[in-house]
Each structure stands twice: as C-alpha cells, then as structure tokens.
C-alpha cells in the first residue's frame, strides 16, 4: 500500500462524499438512533426514580460512597482526551495523517465531556444545590472550599468543555461554509449562522490558522491538567490505593489509551457507514494503531510500576488492598482489566492485525472494556477493604447504576449520530490539503526541494475554496 494513495482524489469528490454523509439518513440510522433514545429515556427514568427515592436505590452505601457514577465519569473524561490528542498534538507536530479523522475525534471529545459531566451531577446527594460548588459571589458570604479536588474538577471540566467546543467549532468554520454553499432550507440558515460569513479570503485563512494553532497550544496542557485533576480526586485522598503519586500521569496515559481505542472504533464504523474508504485509509489506521500501541505500553508501565511501588513500600493498608484486588471478591474485574487492557494491545504489534479493519474494531472494543474495568477497579476495591476492617463490605453496582451506565453510552451515541448528520464528520478542507500535499509530493522526483513545495502550497491555499 502506497503512502500516497490519496493523491488521486478529486476535490469535488471530497465535497460530494462528505456532503453525502449529511443527506437524509437511511432506515438503519433511525433504528440505531431510536435505540439510543430509548436507552437515554431508560436512564432518565432511573435517574428520576433515584432522585425521588434517594441515592440508596443505586445500592451505594457505607463504605461504598462512590461507585459506578465515578468510574463512568473517569471513563468518559478519559475518552474525551483522544480528540485533543489527535487534533492538537498531532497538529502541532505536523502529523498530516490526522486530517481525515480529527473532526469526528473532536466531536467525540465534546460528547464524551458532555456525557462525563452528567455523572457528577447525578452522583450528588442534593443535585439542586450543585451550583454551590461554583465560586460565585453571594449574599451569604460563603465561598466553596478551594482545597477540594472536586472543586478543581468542576473548574477543569467546564474549562475543558468550553475549549473543546471552541476548538471543534473553529476548526469547522471553513467546512461549514462549504455546507452553507450547498445547503437548502433550515440547514442553509444553520450553516449561514455558524459559518459567520466565511468567504475563504487569504486574510481569513491567516486569522483562522493563527487561532487554530493558538487554541491547540492552549488545549494540550489543558487536557493533561484536566485528567491530572481527575486523578487528584483519588490521589489527594488518604484512602489506601487511591493516595498514589503516580496517579496523574497514569490517568492521563489511561485517558489517551481509551480515547485512541474509541477513535479506532468510530474510525471503522464511519468508514463503512459513510463509505469513507478513500479518506480513512488502512495507512491511517496503521498509524493510529501504532500510536495506540505506544500509549498502551506507557500505561502498562505506569500500571505495573504502581503495583511494584505498593509492594516494596510494604505499607499494610496499601498491600492489603492490592492483595484483595487480585484475590478478593473483585478479582475478576482486575484480571479482566489486565487481560483486556494489558495483554490484548500486544495484538497491535502485528501488522496483519493493524491492517485488518474489523480485527481492529473488535480489538478496540476489548481495549475499551479493559479500560472501563480499570476505572471500576480503581474506585471499588479500595473502598471495600479500607482502613477500618469493621466496615469492609463488598457491594456490586445495582440496577439503577447499571441502567444509567448503559444509558450514558446511548446518550453519547445519540449525540454523535446527530452530529454526523448535521455536521461534516470528515474535515473537507484539511483532506483537500492532504490530497494536495501528497499529489505534489508524489509528482516530484526531487523531494528535498521543500521550499518550492511550500511556495506551491501557499499559492494553492490562496486559491482554495
């Protein structure tokens, strides 16, 4: 397979293909969407019941004050990191293979945050007083507690959500303009409003580029800090096996890991559903898989080093939890996680697997399952064998929690499906850029003459759109 397989695509075909994905959906779309909506409604019903009756219906108790809601929160926040990684980091590192896939990755980021943000809310005992967490001036003269990681969480997530929306939106403006030019009816109005008068002038491109890169620069450290803060929800406590210094990097690695896995899943799906084979090529999958593999190895290392450090610290409480994790009542969760997230990624070491779309699809699901289990085993087993042996108790999440968990997947998918039908899920202008670059590059025998390529690019860009 050639590295330059995309060079022959007509630009008009790009527009046509991508815009086709926005057209009236097929029957299957509606089926999937209604299943998602049904799940969301189930979740909403569960939440209403829980809200009325009390959180006890979710079977959380003492000592299991936290359970699936928090694991899910960490899971979804983790998943949101992929978009940032692909867009921002790869943008800044000029990895051009990101171009056909970053748009949906960013959308995924956004929707993961929106999903994650639900969990702290339904987790609260008194949801109606949630705004007290925000530091707003009030007549009572009370501030929230700035030392609480939960407060940092609230701040970090709102910041991250806002920035992600902005990043997604800014990156979409030129495409929205294309849509505007091809749309009728309500879509026309929508795209007109959203594309804020984009004409594709050089000055606009200049401003656009600058904004986009700046946002990317802002987002990379933000993303790292967000998950470090989520990690500090655990690391700042004194619970054995939560109070671990390496949690922030471990969480960031885990987040990128599960995010990449999710990208692979959606990559394969979109490729087949919208017939994007021309853009989402095997080559790109290969690169994504390699990246995922690398991150998996970092995560593996951090995970194992955590076990090792607990072991040689010989701390009674920590060791107790570690042993309970492996041999206690939650052992199958831990072993399941190790199998799915620690062993399974080694499959990606083989090119055959990397180049087989459906193999990658199933593998990515396994990885995500592993990472979901990982979040569960971070939250529950340490609570089950805490400092105070009298309170040791094993609690499995109840029906309400499981329903809401499943509903969160429905919610995410629902948002994503709607997004795919309203907004172009592949970046048209960036793909054009990519095709252009490759076409240029392949037509040249002398690859070193980069200056000329650059000049050509600038010229070409001026005349784009």
């Amino acid at each position: 397979m050639s590295d330059y397989s995309m060079k022959d695509i007509e630009w008009a075909k790009i527009n046509r293909d991508v815009l086709a994905s926005l057209e009236s959906p097929r029957k299957e779309f509606w089926i999937v969407l209604s299943v998602c909506i049904f799940l969301v409604l189930c979740g909403a019903a569960a939440e209403v019941y829980q809200y009325n009756e009390g959180l006890g219906t979710a079977l959380m108790n003492k000592p299991h004050f936290w359970q699936l809601y928090i694991s899910n929160f960490v899971f979804w926040i983790g998943m949101s990191h992929s978009g940032t990684l692909l867009s921002a980091i790869l943008l800044l590192t000029h990895a051009d293979w990101r171009k056909p896939i970053y748009r949906f990755a960013e959308a995924m980021t956004l929707f993961s945050i929106l999903t994650a943000a639900i969990f702290p809310v339904i987790h609260l005992g008194r949801v109606w007083d949630m705004y007290w967490v925000l530091p707003y001036p009030n007549e009572r003269g009370i501030w929230p507690n700035f030392r609480s990681p939960l407060l940092w969480d609230a701040a970090a997530i709102t910041t991250y959500a806002t920035s992600s929306i902005l990043f997604l939106y800014v990156g979409m403006i030129p495409d929205l303009a294309i849509c505007r030019d091809n749309a009728k009816g309500w879509r026309k109005k929508l795209y007109t409003a959203l594309s804020i008068g984009w004409m594709g002038r050089a000055s606009e491109w200049m401003a656009f580029r600058k904004t986009y890169v700046l946002l990317a620069c802002f987002l990379v450290p933000l993303a790292v800090s967000v998950h470090s803060i989520v990690a500090s929800d655990f690391a700042m406590s004194i619970m054995p096996d939560w109070h671990i210094t390496s949690f922030p990097p471990y969480f960031v690695a885990g987040a990128l890991y599960s995010g990449c896995a999710a990208i692979i899943t959606l990559f394969v799906l979109l490729r087949y559903v919208f017939k994007f084979e021309d853009y989402m090529t095997t080559e790109i999958m290969d690169k994504t898989a390699k990246l995922t593999f690398a991150i998996a190895m970092v995560w593996n290392y951090l995970n194992l080093s955590e076990y090792a450090s607990i072991w040689y610290s010989n701390d009674m409480f920590e060791k107790e939890v570690l042993l309970e994790k492996f041999f206690g009542p939650y052992h199958w969760v831990v072993w399941g996680m190790l199998l799915c997230a620690l062993v399974a990624p080694f499959a990606m070491a083989f090119e055959k697997v990397r180049h087989n779309m459906w193999a990658m699809f199933w593998l990515s699901l396994v990885l995500q399952l592993g990472m979901w289990l990982e979040r569960f085993q971070i939250v529950s087993p340490p609570l089950a064998s805490n400092h105070e042996p009298w309170t040791w108790a094993v609690v499995w999440p109840g029906l309400i929690q499981l329903t809401i968990t499943v509903a969160s997947f429905g919610w995410f998918t629902m948002l994503f499906l709607i997004f795919c039908k309203v907004f172009p899920s592949v970046s048209m202008y960036e793909v054009k850029e990519m095709v252009f670059h490759r076409r240029k590059a392949s037509s040249r025998t002398d690859m070193e003459d980069l200056d000329k390529v650059k000049d050509d690019m600038i010229k070409a860009e001026e005349g784009l759109s």
Partner: protein
C-alpha cells in the same frame, strides 16, 4: 383561611403536636398548659420551605413553663424490673430523652439501652388508644363509658373464680392489686416474669435465708460466674455494670465465666469456658471437692456435705463438662489464690431438671471460700411487705394455665405480662386462656395475650402515670422509686388511662373505703404522706409559704424516690445441704444439640421487640439486627456444611422452628443458641412477623425442687432447609468470609495488655 378551618386544624393539631403537661404538684390536670411557640417544629426538614405554620401560645401556663427551655423531671424506668431512676428531659411539653438519675442508688446516673428506648414505648405508634371489647368474635373499639360498664360487670363484683396474672411488680401497684384481689375474694394471684432467676432465688433463700442477698461485685477479687449474665440480662444489669467498673479498677479483679453460650458477660471475661450444658453443677462440685482437700475450706462445711464431696472424680467431670482436668485445677488454684471471691449461678446453670441442685452446688463454693459476709451480704429488714417486689416465675404461670385448664377460673385478668407469647407450646397457654369465660387485659400494646382477650383496657405509659415501685434487686434496702407523669398523655386524655385509676375505680365499686381517693395519684401521694415518719430524711418545705405537704411532695418528686427506714439484719448463716446431682448423661442421638434460649440485653424477653431502636441495636455478640438466628460453633457448622445465613430447621420433641444460622465461635460445640425476643405474632409493626421464639419448642421439663420450667434442658436436632437467607449483620466481614471471625486485619483497633501490666501502670499513675 377561614376561622373555623383554623379551629378545626387546631383541634387536630392539638392532639398531635401540642401537649398538655401535667406535672402535678398541687394543680395537676387542672391547668391547661399548651406547648409554647418557637421551636415547635417537630419534623425539621433541612430544606428551606416556605410555610405559614401555626404558632400556639399557652393559654394559662404555670410559671416554670418556658418554651425553648428544657426541664428535667425525675421518674423511674419501668423497662425491666430493675427500677433505675431516670431524669426525663422535657421541652414544650414533650419528653425528649431519658437519662439516669445520678442520686438513685440503683443506677447512679447511667441507663441501659432498654431504658433509653423507654421513650419509644411511650411514643409507640402501635400503642392502644381505645378500649376494646370482643363483640361477635372480634375486638372492636368502644368508648370509655362502655368499657367501664363492661369492666364493672366483669370485675367489679365478688368473684372467687377470678384469676389475676401480672408481670413482675412492686410498690403501690402491687399493693393495689393485692387490695383488689382481697376485695373480690380471689386467691388466684399469679406473677410471671420470664427472666428473673426464680431457681436461683429459691436456692439463695434456702442457703442464705434470703432470695436476693446483696452481692458486692466491686469487693470481689475474683468472680466465677456460672452463666450469670450480670452485665446483660441478670437482675439489675446497670447496677452490676457499675459494680463491675469498680471491680475492674486496679488492683483489677478477675472474671471467669463458665457457660455453654457466650453472653455479654462472657465476652468481657478474662477466661470464658464453654461447658457442656447441664454440667455446671458437676464442675462446681468438682471444685468443691478439690477445695475440700484443704482443711481450711473443708472446715466451713458440715460433715454430711463433705461426705458428698468425697467421691468426685475430676477426670470424669472433665469428660462430662468438656473442660479439661488441667483447667479445673487451674480454676481451683484461682479460687484459692483470690480472696474474697464471688461465685454466681445464673440461668444457664439453673435451667435444668436438676437446676436447684446445680445452684446449690455453685453457691456452696461461696460458703467454702468464706465469701458470705464479704461479697454476699445480708439484706436489711424493711416494713411494708405489700410494696416489696413480686418477681414470680414459670411455676406460677404453670399454675395459672393449669387452673384455666381445670376450669377453676371464669375470669382471667392479665396485666404487664404476655403469657401467650412466652409460654412454650406444650403448655397450651393460648388454648387454656381461651377457656376462661372473660379475659381482661390491661396493656399498652396489642400483644398476643391482649389480642386474645375479650376486654382490652389501654393503659398509660410509665411516663404518663403516677406510681411507686421497688427495684427487683436493690443495693440500698428500702428504696421506693416514684413515678410521676412527665407530660400529658401522648394520645390525649380520652385515649389511655392509668392502670391505677382504672383499678381504683373498680375497687371503689366493691369497697366504699376506697372512695377516699379520687384518683390513683391521691392514693399514692396520700400513702407517701402517711409514710413520712418512716422515711429517711423526709423533705421539708423550703420555700416560704409552702405547706409541709407541698414541700414534701416537691422534695420527693425532685429526688425521684424515697428511702424507707430499715433495720439492720443479722449476718447470714448459711444452711447447707448435701448436693444431689444426677450423673451427667451422654448426648441424645436423635436430638444431638442442647438448645440455649438466650436472652438479649435489648429485646429482653421479647417485651421490647416493638421498639425500633432496640431492634436496630445489633446483638452484642453476633451483630445481627432485626432477626432471630441459630448460633452454631464453626466446627459444628463446618461438619454440617452450614455457613452463616443458611436456613435450618430446629426440631425438638415438642416442636420445631426455622431460623438462619450464624456461625459463632463463642458457643459449645454440642450446643446451639437461639436468642429470645422475636417471633411475635402480634405486638405492632416493628415486632410482628420477625424471627422465632425459642421458648415455643421447649420440652416439658421442670426443675424438680421449685417446679420452674427447665429452660435449658431441651435438646434439638438440626436439618438444613435452604441456602443463604437474608440475614443482616453489622459484622460484614462475617458474611464475606462466611464465618464469624471478624479480624482486625493487622490494625491496632483494640489493643490488649495483661492485667499485670495494667496494675503496674495504674500504680505509677
């Protein structure tokens, strides 16, 4: 809102949330004192809620009524016969909390969990609030007028065939009941209370000429207790706990507890010895024979007793009791090295056909060790025998039931006890009770006996009525405890009535003499006023303008009790008889397990099963709540393939019941224990339908000397019914680990030092 609506609402509000408070002292009941304003909110929600609620002023309050300010009234706890003094915290006419009365010699300011929960009996949602009469086979609520008419018809005439059964009682209730029975010409007075150790009392009476000699636990250096759970359910737990606290001070006394099932006292023992049930007397005898080898001890007993100690084979006893010979010798050494000591005999030693003899053997040790006069002290003599506590026992219940069966009684009156719930199935108490033509029950709650009665009289709670009582086991002889209404009746004046008032009205119908008193209150206060000359330091008027009577009444009510003068009695001279114990028999192959029906500090004999605080208070040993269970040793459970939570069938030759297993290390391997207190078929929402009552399957065995029920003599067989039921224990680890081995997992949560270290450290301090 329209005015009339407000008034309507007020009427309902008045009954529910504003209360009359009749403190008495001169003008009780006459002044209408409504609760004040301000903190009248009863259920305080945390959330802000805009309400326009009523705030009701007092109409004509007494000077001391201050809304928002708490007051304490002295009274007496009636949750068990021990008779602890209490202070009731009152605000806005509501009793909020019971606390020990620091000047009462019984409890010296402390209270047990049952005392604390007295409030829940008082405010119990299942209290009877209307008199009921059986019409057409069903109990229907009737007006008080009708109920009184019926009562006078049934009880207000001479009737030698009237049988009266009441629970442990004392003071003026006892006196009034006596007067009533004299007036109707009935000699059929029975007293039945489940837990007072009647066999032990009889043995004491025989040996020390006093059923309840004073015990000085605090003076003993060593306590060897054969199943006397003095910290939990034995006679007067709070008082003994106080003494126990002194006993544990440096130099620290040593406690050895010998019993088949670990009680709360056993859990606090320095050495807990599991003994095969029914062999306690044999062990005591073996110890006595070892002591008798020393002339110092042998000299204290007569020769015929000594002769009976001659041929005791320690090895054989060791085999029979499952306590090694080495351990018996160690016990002997302990007894000889600590003086004074105290040897106690409790229900698990006495609940057999040879129970009296076992108690005899155990008490004999006290004589040999010369504890009499040191830790076992004589009672002083107090006049007014009518006021003395009547504790009764199973033998009297048996006579009551037999009498009913023979048709000796046409009217049965039950007050303060619940025989239909308590009596074992073999007695057929329910069928016998049904034979009486008319059954009358005075009760606060819809218990089993009450619901089987024809006339049900709802009575005041102890916090609503005037009364006096004497502690079942007093530390100061002659203490007469007082009760006063600490608040107006919870359900209003037309709902419940004081037992004393109802009985007094009946008496007035038969005996005009009693018309002198218009209420039980005047009866009691008059009696107290006349008792003034025989009281120790009767209070006098303190405030200028007070009459001496007012001063006296105020004084005694603020103290909560009066002290009767007593005469010093002669030292105890022990009367000994040779002990005659049957040889220990082997296990019954068909019914291999001994059944221990174990009382719980909390639910007591089942009378507190309707108090949710006590249902939710975990059992001290197994940590189980809201349930009945079968305690079983881990080894036994393992051999039978049972784990905690499994449902088993427990079968004796008289019946069977089903309960869940709790694997519990503190029990003899051949023994199972089922706690008392549950298995109510009536008794309100908190008690009904929970668990089982082990008394129901007891065999018809009685102590040969006293005729008391041999509560521990039943043997049972066990079969598994199904896996894991919904057993709830706070020892979560027990369920996780599937055995009862709660571990500290290396944490130093409870650390232990030796008594030697303790004494050394306390000395340094």
């Amino acid at each position: 809102m329209k005015q009339d609506k407000v008034d309507d609402k007020l009427a309902s509000d008045c009954t529910r949330r504003t209360f009359l408070k009749a403190m008495g002292l001169g003008s009780a009941g006459s002044a209408l004192v409504l609760s004040g304003c301000g903190d009248t909110d009863i259920v305080n929600e945390v959330d802000i809620e805009v309400r326009k609620e009523l705030v009701l002023p007092n109409v004509d309050p007494q000077d001391f009524v201050r809304p928002g300010v708490e007051m304490y009234y002295a009274s007496t706890c009636r949750q068990c016969p021990a008779g602890c003094g209490v202070h009731t915290r009152i605000r806005e006419g509501r009793a909020l909390k019971l606390e020990g009365n620091p000047v009462s010699s019984v409890n010296k300011g402390s209270l047990c969990m049952m005392g604390q929960a007295g409030l829940q009996g008082h405010y119990n949602p299942d209290r009877l609030t209307k008199p009921m009469v059986r019409k057409g086979g069903k109990l229907v609520e009737v007006s008080w007028d009708e109920a009184e008419d019926t009562l006078i018809k049934v009880m207000g005439r001479k009737n030698s065939k009237l049988a009266w059964l009441n629970g442990a009682t004392s003071g003026h209730h006892a006196a009034l009941i006596g007067a009533y029975l004299d007036a109707v010409g009935s000699k059929n007075h029975f007293v039945f209370d489940t837990l007072p150790p009647a066999v032990g009392h009889a043995a004491n009476e025989k040996m020390f000429s006093n059923a309840v000699p004073k015990l000085a636990l605090d003076k003993a250096k060593l306590i060897v207790s054969f199943g006397a759970d003095f910290l939990g359910t034995w006679m007067s737990p709070v008082q003994f706990a106080k003494q126990y606290a002194d006993f544990r001070n440096a130099p620290r006394g040593t406690l050895v507890q010998i019993e088949p099932k670990m009680t709360l006292t056993g859990a606090n023992a320095d050495r807990w010895l599991p003994i095969r049930p029914g062999t306690e007397g044999h062990l005591a005898l073996a110890l006595a024979s070892l002591l008798a080898q020393d002339a110092k001890y042998a000299g204290r007993v007569s020769s015929d007793v000594l002769a009976s100690l001659k041929d005791v084979d320690i090895e054989a006893v060791a085999k029979a009791t499952d306590i090694s010979a080495e351990r018996i010798h160690k016990l002997h050494h302990l007894l000889t090295s600590h003086a004074p000591s105290l040897v106690l005999s409790g229900s698990s030693a006495e609940g057999f056909e040879h129970g009296s003899q076992a108690a005899n053997a155990i008490l004999l040790l006290n004589v040999m060790l010369d504890n009499v006069g040191k830790t076992i002290l004589p009672r002083e003599e107090v006049d007014f025998p009518d006021l003395h506590p009547q504790l009764g026992g199973w033998a009297q219940l048996k006579s009551f039931v037999d009498g009913l069966n023979h048709g000796d009684f046409d009217t049965a009156v039950v007050f303060g006890t619940n025989p239909i719930y308590q009596a074992p199935d073999f007695m057929g108490a329910d069928k016998a009770f049904a034979k009486a033509k008319t059954k009358v029950s005075f009760s606060m709650f819809p218990d089993e006996t009450t619901m089987a009665s024809d006339v049900v009289i709802p009575i005041h709670s102890p916090l609503e009525e005037w009364n006096t009582s004497m502690p079942a086991y007093a530390v100061e002889d002659g203490q007469l405890n007082l009760q006063q209404p600490v608040m107006n009746p919870v359900f209003g004046d037309d709902s419940t009535r004081a037992f004393g008032d109802v009985l007094l009205t009946l008496l007035q119908n038969i005996d005009a003499q009693f018309k002198r008193w218009d209420s039980y209150q005047t009866y009691v206060t008059d009696a107290l006023l006349t008792m003034r000359p025989v009281l120790v330091n009767p209070p006098r008027a303190t405030v200028p303008g007070q009459t001496p009577e007012e001063g006296f009444k105020q004084g005694i009510l603020s103290t909560g009790f009066v002290q009767l003068k007593s005469k010093k009695s002669k030292p105890i001279v022990a009367k000994l008889e040779p002990v005659d114990l049957p040889t220990a028999t082997g296990d019954d192959a068909k019914f291999p397990f001994h059944l221990v029906p174990s009382p719980r500090a909390g639910l007591w004999d089942g009378r507190h099963a309707n108090l949710p605080w006590l249902q939710e208070l975990p059992d001290q040993l197994t940590e189980v709540v809201w349930d009945s269970w079968v305690e079983m040793h881990p080894k036994t459970a393992e051999s039978m393939g049972l784990i905690t939570g499994d449902v088993v069938n427990v079968k004796s030759s008289s019946g069977s019941l089903t309960a869940k297993v709790v694997v519990f290390p503190g029990i003899h391997k051949n023994t199972i224990a089922i706690p008392l207190g549950q298995g109510h078929t009536e008794y309100g929402r908190y008690a009904k339908g929970i668990g089982v009552n082990p008394y129901k399957i007891l065999n018809a065995k009685f102590d040969k000397q006293t005729g008391e029920l041999a509560t521990h003599a039943t043997q049972v067989a066990i079969t598994k019914v199904e896996n894991r039921g919904d057993l709830v224990t706070f020892a979560h680890g027990d369920l996780v680990l599937e055995s009862n081995t709660s571990t500290q997992a290396g944490r130093e949560i409870v650390k232990t030092v030796t008594a030697e270290q303790f004494n050394r450290e306390e000395k340094e301090v």
